[in-house]
Symmetry: C2
Subunit: 158 residues, 2 copies
DNA sequence: CTATTTGCAAATGGTTTGCAGGATG
DNA sequence: CATCCTGCAAACCATTTGCAAATAG
């Protein structure tokens, strides 16, 4: 079974791999090659990636597609990744980096380019919604869509 | 082929059916029984419905499931319905009623109850996002999730 | 050693589609 | 009667799962 170090060149410390190792050890789960590789791929990409993209970015034939799916569930359970959906049929996952709190995305409906945003739905408004509705533990899912400058220029030129 | 009036009891005027008829006539498409029935089902329900739910709510054996899918595409193209996704694997559709502008939903993660909300993402903030990113035609997809009072009470009682 | 993981292939569930027959304008 | 629509069954695609073999601790 190929291991991460066998395939991946880590520029710096694979910080999240240590984090994962810690959490896994505590729950009697194992630190395997595929899991480390997947985490490494996520570390190298700032934007959310689809399972298929992660799989294609894995070096060599590290593991099966099913293993990527299973690993993402594991990472999700252990709160190491966040899942986002842009309504195009496949879920995307991004690493939760330290200090990388809750944020949203702006997606180009044409070329699918993704821009990270700082702006968020106002906390006070969310509190108001919770109060009025009586719902507990209210969270939100918010994504923006539009046409990026490049695609706008291209379609204007036609 | 069963028609709408054969099966559906309309309380008032099927306002949207007229709207649909107009738009269809203009594009040389046909006003069929299944389409009228589907629209009638949507009129009778305030909340977004999944394709399967719409199908099950249709009176008798009006049409095939595939026809419901095809009809929803048609209604979507003609801007008579809005599509929303709550991340549970199936898209939902709701009728765009006159004066029923853009709005969002609060979904109970436990029982899936849906509450319509008036609160929306501040227009100014969206404008700021568009300006800073240079994106055109910026829109957003926003949904809230939480635990409804009933489910909260039930889980507290356990 | 033993429980957890993995590959493989098959199953699943929502959605789409090809095609021949049926209905609408 | 030409065109659009529908039923049916098969295809699709993302995702999940059963099971026996492989592996981490």
């Amino acid at each position: 079974m190929p291991t991460c170090s066998q395939h991946c060149r880590h520029d710096g410390k694979p910080a999240r791999v240590e984090e994962l190792a810690d959490r896994l050890r505590r729950s009697a789960r194992k630190i395997t090659g595929p899991r480390q590789c997947i985490l490494a791929v996520l570390e190298q990409h700032a934007h959310p990636l689809a399972i298929r993209e992660i799989f294609d970015l894995l070096p060599g034939r590290v593991c099966d597609l099913a293993t990527v799916y299973r690993s993402m569930h594991l990472l999700l359970e252990h709160a190491l990744v966040r899942k986002v959906e842009f309504g195009d049929g496949s879920a995307r996952y991004e690493l939760i980096r330290s200090g990388n709190s809750h944020h949203h995305h702006l997606v180009c409906t044409d070329c699918r380019e993704i821009v990270e945003l700082d702006e968020c739905f106002p906390k006070e408004l969310e509190d108001t919604i919770a109060r009025r509705s009586g719902f507990r533990a209210v969270t939100h899912r918010l994504e923006f869509f539009g046409v990026c400058p490049r695609c706008a220029a291209r379609s204007a030129a036609v």
